[in-house]
């Protein structure tokens, strides 16, 4: 079936070429990072994780959100999702690969990566993150490919595929739960130390993930003969609305418990992010107020039925959800957890140019894999239709 990715028009090959150029640039900067060390990034002794681990966190959520199509379709027989489920699963595949690549580019000694398997350490959450992410990747590749093959041959997927599909539903929840446990289980990191961090991650992911998927599908609809059923859009936007409302609600819960109790260490993270720690350290402050603006306006656009159902305002709302989700998980969550540091001192972080291009390169790898998989899926669906 892969050969379908080799047939395309000029625009298709132009897009592939653009991605390859971005991958090439990113790879060049990665070689530079390998030679000189992570000193070329903006990370430091206090903020020891940065843009890379932030993207890992956000993309785990995007990967997990495939379940928002799989669950209604396979458990509730929501037929409108029938043709779209495969695109959710393939988005999950590329997102998980992006996650794994972000772990690799963040390592100081990447050639020792296999030590995680050679010396398995069940008490480390990172070990379990490796297990669940690779498992989820495997599940989605096998499921997506088998289902597509069945569609091609005009048969029903084998019964063992059904079993894997049912397994993949709780597994999707597990990847974001374990990723939240990376942070939530650390003593003295008050911004992260939240028993409901996993729940908050999942709610944000179930909004941003379907938002991204719907935006991608709208582009795909423009450049191919895919038709997104109206009912599917309505269901997805409702899912996004509820998940986004829960996510913003959980942000407010955290702010309440920190500020009503006047617990200094719990307030410190928010005081830095939203107040610049008294106005001295304002690197993230504009981003955070943008998050508030985007979050509130997009929620309003999604809650009001007329703006939710209007294609233009809906598209604006989806972009806002995706960007706000990125500020929340991709930027402020990881960095905000490190500031102030254990000495209550503020050391700020901002990514460097090499760090930025390596990040873009990793995302380009994800987009390339996504493009190829979608091309195959669309080719098969067209072949069956004619």
């Amino acid at each position: 079936m892969l050969e379908k990715a080799l047939q395309g028009n000029k625009a298709y090959w132009g897009w592939i070429f653009t991605l390859l150029v971005l991958i090439g640039i990113g790879f060049g900067f990665y070689v530079y990072q390998l030679q000189h060390g992570l000193g070329i990034t903006g990370m430091n002794r206090d903020v020891s994780w940065g843009l890379y681990i932030g993207q890992l966190t956000y993309m785990v959520g995007i990967a997990a959100s495939a379940v928002m199509l799989v669950l209604p379709y396979y458990l509730h027989n929501h037929k409108a999702f029938g043709k779209l489920v495969i695109f959710g699963e393939f988005l999950a595949v590329s997102a998980v690969i992006v996650c794994l690549l972000f772990v690799v580019v963040d390592l100081g000694q990447p050639q020792r990566l296999m030590n995680v398997i050679l010396y398995p350490t069940p008490n480390s959450v990172l070990f379990w993150d490796m297990v669940v992410l690779n498992g989820y990747l495997f599940l989605n590749i096998v499921i997506g490919w088998s289902v597509l093959h069945a569609v091609k041959k005009g048969t029903r997927p084998a019964s063992w595929v059904k079993v894997l599909i049912y397994v993949s539903i709780p597994w999707a929840v597990s990847i974001h739960t374990v990723t939240a446990f990376l942070y939530a289980g650390l003593p003295g990191r008050y911004f992260w130390h939240d028993s409901l961090l996993a729940a908050s991650f999942l709610s944000g992911a179930f909004a941003a993930g379907p938002a991204l998927l719907l935006l991608i599908l709208m582009v795909v609809q423009k450049v191919s003969d895919l038709k997104i059923p109206k009912e599917a859009i309505q269901t997805m936007t409702k899912i996004i609305t509820y998940a986004w409302a829960i996510n913003l609600f959980m942000v407010l819960l955290k702010i309440f418990s920190a500020f009503y109790s006047q617990y200094p260490s719990k307030m410190a993270g928010f005081q830095y992010l939203f107040g610049g720690a008294g106005g001295e350290y304002m690197q993230l402050m504009p981003w955070m107020w943008n998050f508030v603006f985007l979050g509130v306006v997009s929620l309003a656009l999604l809650v009001i039925p007329s703006t939710r159902n209007n294609p233009i305002t809906m598209t604006i709302a989806l972009v806002m959800v995706f960007v706000a989700g990125w500020i929340d998980k991709g930027l402020s969550l990881v960095i905000g957890g490190f500031i102030p540091n254990p000495f209550k001192v503020h050391t700020e972080y901002w990514f460097t140019i090499p760090e930025f291009f390596i990040t873009v390169g990793v995302y380009a790898v994800g987009l390339l894999i996504l493009t190829i998989l979608y091309k195959v899926a669309l080719g098969v669906q067209r072949e069956v239709a004619t």
């Binding site: 060390g37 430091n44 002794r45 390592l107 100081g108 030590n115 070990f127 209550k344």
Partner: protein, 261 residues
């Protein structure tokens, strides 16, 4: 008696089997005791200093000059080839900071002048319940039976999870190749490579040779090092007599560096 090949092989086979089976049976009935018995008989360093639980006391009253702190820091950093990298990507095993930063939850504006302005030595606390060991995905950081939290620089993959896990900021990452930043390389201690995490090891290399930690040695009695499990040790005697503080005790890490106030 002439030993033909067949008999020899039989005998050799049986002997091997008995050896393997005996070891397996011993491991099954009393796991670990065989190695323990052997290692207590054969010590690589008979002169090594040993303890059930190493701990350090920092007598803040005895640090009277800035030079005293610097001597401790230099002794450690020179001996362990700790590079001198300026800026926020620095490496440090032992350093000083104010009371306010050392004990952020215990500080208030009305402290005695001495406490308010005096620097405090900071280093790895060698916790009883170390979060860094708990989170490490490769066991590159681990805890010895005598409490020392150790690093295996050859196994560390540089994921820096231990740095996020440590609530004391005791860990440093080699953002760069450290070697060009070492003034004079001490050939008796290994230098590190870029991309691994490092920290104070309570001078386990010196303890193995029967020497006390380098910082303690040059501290003129301001640092006290000893076995916390031994009732008659100096650390226990001093802790009975003097009031001491530990950093962030509420986090449940049970740090083993005590500050005598």
């Amino acid at each position: 008696m002439a030993l033909n090949r067949r008999t020899f092989l039989k005998a050799a086979g049986l002997t091997t089997l008995a050896g393997v089976a005996g070891h397996a049976a011993m491991e099954f009935l009393a796991p670990g005791e065989l190695e323990a018995a052997l290692s207590s008989q054969v010590g690589a360093f008979p002169e090594a200093l040993t303890a059930q639980r190493w701990a350090m006391l920092i007598d803040t009253e005895k640090f009277t000059t800035m030079q005293m702190y610097q001597r401790c820091i230099d002794a450690c950093h020179v001996l362990h080839n700790v590079p001198d990298i300026p800026g926020d990507q620095e490496i440090k095993w032992i350093w000083t900071d104010s009371f306010k930063h050392t004990f952020p939850d215990q500080q208030h504006g009305l402290l005695p002048e001495r406490i308010k302005h005096q620097p405090f030595l900071l280093l790895c606390n060698h916790c009883d319940n170390p979060p860094c060991v708990r989170v490490c995905p490769t066991k590159a950081t681990f805890q010895r039976d005598d409490g020392i939290v150790m690093m295996d620089m050859h196994r560390c993959i540089g994921c820096r999870y231990c740095m996020a896990g440590c609530p004391y900021g005791a860990r440093s990452f080699n953002f760069w190749d450290p070697r060009p930043h070492i003034n004079e390389i001490d050939p008796y201690y290994p230098t590190r490579m870029k991309g691994v995490v490092e920290k104070c090891t309570f001078c386990e290399d010196r303890l193995a040779k029967g020497q006390i930690p380098a910082c303690v040695e040059v501290s003129e009695g301001a640092l006290i090092f000893g076995d916390l499990e031994n009732q008659d040790s100096e650390v226990r005697r001093v802790l009975r007599e003097r009031y001491s503080l530990r950093r962030k005790p509420s986090l449940g890490t049970n740090p083993h560096v005590f500050y005598l106030i």
